[in-house]
Each structure stands twice: as structure tokens, then as C-alpha cells.
């Protein structure tokens, strides 16, 4: 897909009108993720219930449109999923970035699949994956 089309169809909307840019009160997890070279800086907040299901998710921070949109899209996807399911989604996203995911797997990523091409741009892969790395760290830290 042409880069400007990716922005137009997916990135701009989530960057300019993010659904999850908010602050949770006393969430179970707060985790910051930073790309030191380009300055992308996000903080994820996650609330999980007793059954380890993600009930609420939010983010704050600043950075390029790709990093911020990717975060918002990711949070859309994982709310309502268990910790284990969310980690599996992260794994599929990462294997898509590496070019190793099957078509079926990519399809399962829904909106996040649209980030495939931008995640393959050497200069932008870090922007696209920051949120996902940060989420994996958050959920694996127990």
C-alpha cells in the first residue's frame, strides 16, 4: 500500500482522534516505552480483572503519528482479551513485522494488519512496534 494511503486510511484517524488517549485511575500496570533515537515516548496503562482479562487500557505520550496510532490500534485489539491472548496477538504482530506471519495470522490482526507496510520501512519499524514491545514487557513482568 502507498504510504500516504496508509496514513489516510488508518494512521491519521487513530493519531488525531485516538479512542484510548486517557488516564486510568490506579490501574494495575503502568509502563513507559521510549525510542531514544527518535523520541517516541508512550505510557501504557492496563487494568486486569481477577480472571486476568484486560478490562481497561489507555495510553499517553508523544511521538510520530505511526507510533501513536499503532498504540491506539493495539489497545483497541486487546481490551477484553486475557493476558495470554494479548501476548499471542503481540507475537503475531511481531512475526508480521519480521515477514514471517501467515496470511491467516495477518488477517487476525484486523486494523493492525494495515501497519504491515509501514512496519517494513527500515526507518519506521521502531515507531510501529514501540507499543507492542511495551505491552509485551508489561504483561510478561510477572
Amino acid at each position: 500500500m502507498d504510504l500516504k494511503q496508509i496514513y489516510r486510511e488508518i494512521v491519521n484517524e487513530h493519531n488525531l482522534h485516538p479512542g484510548h488517549r486517557e488516564e486510568l485511575i490506579r490501574p494495575r500496570y503502568t509502563q513507559r516505552g521510549v525510542n531514544p533515537t527518535c523520541g517516541d515516548d508512550i505510557t501504557l496503562q492496563l487494568e486486569l480483572d481477577d480472571g486476568d482479562t484486560i478490562t481497561e487500557a489507555a495510553f499517553s505520550g508523544s511521538g510520530c503519528a505511526v507510533s501513536q496510532a499503532s498504540t491506539d490500534i493495539m489497545l483497541d485489539m486487546i481490551i477484553g482479551h486475557s493476558r495470554q491472548e494479548a501476548l499471542e496477538i503481540v507475537d503475531i504482530f511481531m512475526s508480521m513485522v519480521r515477514g514471517e506471519a501467515s496470511e491467516e495470522e495477518i488477517e487476525s490482526l484486523e486494523e493492525a494488519a494495515a501497519l504491515q507496510d509501514v512496519a517494513h520501512m527500515p526507518a519506521r519499524a521502531k515507531c510501529a512496534t514501540l507499543a507492542w514491545h511495551t505491552l509485551r514487557k508489561t504483561l510478561s513482568d510477572e
Binding site: 502507498d2 504510504l3 500516504k4 484517524e13 523520541g39 503519528a65 505511526v66 520501512m121
Partner: protein, 404 residues
């Protein structure tokens, strides 16, 4: 200047749709430079400075001839004042390790500007850390100017002023003449980081009375991996070697060594002779075009960018408001658009610009921005390119989802 003929000299510029506006990062190379490097390897390649046979003598002559060329390009009194390095960074590190660690101590001050590229800051942070000397910062106004009150930070305590000739972000030329006069009056030496200056402006180290001057070949049409350091002879003679090893010795025993004469004392190991030859060819090319013509073309193009960008309401320009003062460097931000997104969508239009902190994080902090976008021009860029850049830039906000 016949821009069409100039463009034909640069093999990489054959696609008229591809616009290279990242010249402050590295320049492109004319065929004459590529050929000089190839000819060296094809006809006289051998390890210079030691051989007793024709090829090695030829390599030595080519290498030392390049040194003469650089010396005359920078206006040095003697070729032995020119040390070949990999680049400006290595040249400044040489001065920091060799001169700085020997000569500075507690109570001394090193004056720099907040505009410095990291390569002219981190070596001095290291020297300050190891010797107890203090770093002092001069700060520019909104136009990128260093006012007199900033130059007052050069005092009797100052032992060295390390300053960029041209800021790689603001494009502004620092008042090198005033700085040198003030520093010398106070008994301090001056290092000029001319990485961004040398490609655009005639340098005369003697006339300007510089003590140290560092340049990178790759920003002025020469190959990667070759740069030069000028050091005034009477200072150089007092400096210990930077790196130790082959080619820099006179006599070596099991326990000790005496070092070679200048400048070879500072060029340990096998040298980049082909790079030096390429740098000499680059200087020939620049001299033939001439700095007056180079500046004229850069100014013409920069004005097109400024005129176009000033009419766009969401653009902030950093640096001098007079395009003639910017050395072809145009740094900016578009409101609501991260520079990386700007650079990516411009890339999808085949326009190469830089985005980020430009190895000048303290300046970004001073300007209170995380990052900026930068278009940097050189004399082989064209008016059509400048116009197309302006046209495409005006669409960036809409590409990134804004209505206006």
C-alpha cells in the same frame, strides 16, 4: 553557473524526479572524485610512506600531494599542519585527547555554543570530566546570533573555545572572527568545527588566525572516511600523539619509541590514501565551480524555500530569517506533524529530507522541541527541485489528516 552541466557531473543525480535535500548529512560525489579514487587503485595502489618501489612511491606522492592540496584549500602555512583523519569527529577527538587532556585542569573553562553538533560537545564533556575543567555555553537568540553578552562568557578562565563555523541545524554562521579575537585576547585557543562551513565558505586558517580547524571530506564531495585537521604548527609541536602504532614512529626499542616528524606522528596505522586523493579531487572540483557561484546558487534556492514556506501558516522556521545567512540549511516544523511523519511522506514523493535531533540534542532542548525536519541544499540542486519541494510540503498537513 551552468546547472545542467553541473548535474551531469554527478552520476547519482540522473533521475530528475528524485530530490536530494539532505546535503548537510552528506554530499553527493562528482564523477571526477570517483574516478580519482578508482585511478589510484588502478594505477598506483600500494602502502604509502614506506615502500621503496615505484607504486608505493606513487602512492606516497599522491597522498602527500593531497595534503598539499588540503593545506592550500584551508590556507595553512605548511602542509605539515594538516593531519588526515576519518572525519571531523575524529579530528576533534584528536585535539581533545592530545591537547585537551594535557593542557586543561581544574579552574579552566572550555567555551562552546549550545548549537554544537555532538561531535564538538562530547569530546569536551570527556575532557571536562577527566580534568576538572568547566564547560561554558554560549546561547544564540531567535535569529541564531551570538550576541556580545554571549561572547562575554569567554574570559581569562577560558582556555579553549570550541565552536561550529556553521550550525548544522540553524544554518547560521557564527562570528568566528569576533570569537577568535576575543579568545586570543583572553589567552584562549580556538577550535573551529568547519564540517558544515567548509562545503559552503572559503576558509583561510591563517587570515582568521584559527588554532584548530576540522573538516569532513564527505560533506564537501569527497569520499566517506577522510577528513582533515589543521593545527597551528607551534601548538602541534607540543602535542603528544593521539593513536600509537605503525607509520608514526622514528625509532622503537622493546621499552620505548621516538615518534615521527609532523604530521605523520598523528597518523598511526596505514592511512586512507585513496580517500585523501578523492578529497584532493573534490577540492579541485569545488575550486573550479568557485565558492561565489556555490553561494549564489544556494542563496537562490534557499530564497525559494523561504518564500514558499513563509506563506504556509502552520510552519515554524528555525534559524536566521534572512535566507542568505543560512548556508542552504532550512530547519522547520509543521504544526501537528511529527518530523518523522513529514520525512516519510516526503520520501514517498521522492524528496529526501532529514528528521530528528540532528546530533544536536542540547540545541533541541534549548529550542524546546523534540525533533525538527531539515532540508539542506547544495549547489547542484535546482530551482525546479526547490519549487517542487515547496509544493509538496504544502500538502503534508492534508496527507497527515488535517483539513487546512
Amino acid at each position: 553557473m551552468d546547472i545542467k552541466r553541473i548535474r551531469e557531473d554527478f552520476p547519482i543525480l540522473k533521475d530528475p524526479d528524485y530530490i536530494y535535500f539532505d546535503n548537510a548529512a552528506t554530499s553527493q560525489r562528482p564523477a571526477a572524485v570517483l574516478k580519482a579514487v578508482e585511478d589510484f587503485y588502478r594505477t598506483t595502489n600500494a602502502n604509502p610512506l614506506r615502500g621503496l618501489y615505484e607504486w608505493s612511491i606513487g602512492a606516497t606522492e599522491a597522498y602527500e600531494g593531497a595534503r598539499e592540496k588540503v593545506a592550500s584549500f584551508l590556507g595553512a602555512a605548511d602542509a605539515s599542519e594538516i593531519i588526515f583523519t576519518r572525519n571531523t569527529t575524529e579530528a576533534i577527538n584528536l585535539v581533545a585527547y592530545s591537547w585537551g587532556l594535557q593542557n586543561l585542569g581544574s579552574g579552566d573553562e572550555i567555551a562552546v555554543t549550545v548549537m554544537e553538533h555532538h561531535s564538538n560537545l562530547l569530546p569536551w564533556q570527556m575532557v571536562a570530566d577527566k580534568t576538572g575543567a568547566q564547560l561554558v555555553f554560549m546561547e544564540p537568540d531567535e535569529e541564531g546570533r551570538l550576541g556580545d553578552e554571549q561572547l562575554d562568557r569567554i574570559t581569562e578562565k577560558t582556555r579553549l573555545v570550541a565552536v561550529g563555523m556553521v550550525s548544522n541545524v540553524l544554518g547560521v554562521s557564527n562570528p568566528i572572527g569576533q570569537i577568535i579575537a576575543r579568545a586570543h585576547e583572553k589567552g584562549a585557543l580556538v577550535l573551529v568545527d568547519a564540517a558544515q562551513g567548509a562545503p559552503h565558505h572559503r576558509i583561510d586558517v591563517q587570515k582568521a588566525d584559527m588554532d584548530f580547524c576540522a573538516v569532513s571530506g564527505h560533506k564537501m564531495l569527497a569520499p566517506f572516511g577522510i577528513g582533515a585537521l589543521y593545527v597551528k604548527k607551534k601548538i602541534l609541536e607540543q602535542m603528544p600523539p593521539f593513536l600509537l602504532g605503525g607509520e608514526m614512529i622514528e625509532y622503537v626499542t622493546r621499552e620505548s619509541a621516538t615518534y615521527a616528524q609532523l604530521p605523520h606522528k598523528f597518523e598511526a596505522g596505514t592511512v586512507n590514501a585513496a580517500g585523501a586523493v578523492g578529497m584532493a579531487a573534490a577540492i579541485d572540483y569545488l575550486e573550479e565551480v568557485g565558492f561565489d557561484a556555490i553561494r549564489e546558487q544556494e542563496k537562490k534556492l534557499t530564497r525559494i524555500l523561504y518564500d514558499g514556506m513563509k506563506t504556509m501558516k502552520h510552519i515554524t522556521l528555525y534559524g536566521p530569517s534572512d535566507p542568505d545567512k543560512s548556508s542552504g540549511i532550512v530547519t522547520f516544523n509543521i504544526e501537528g506533524c511529527h518530523p518523522h511523519d513529514v520525512a516519510s511522506v516526503m520520501d514517498s514523493e521522492k524528496i529526501c529530507i532529514r528528521a530528528g535531533h540532528h546530533c544536536a540534542q542540547p540545541l533541541m532542548q534549548y529550542l524546546n522541541v523534540n525533533a525538527t525536519a531539515r532540508a539542506s541544499l547544495y549547489f547542484y540542486n535546482t530551482e525546479e527541485e526547490a519549487e517542487r519541494f515547496v509544493e509538496k510540503l504544502s500538502l503534508v498537513r492534508s496527507w497527515l489528516g488535517y483539513q487546512d
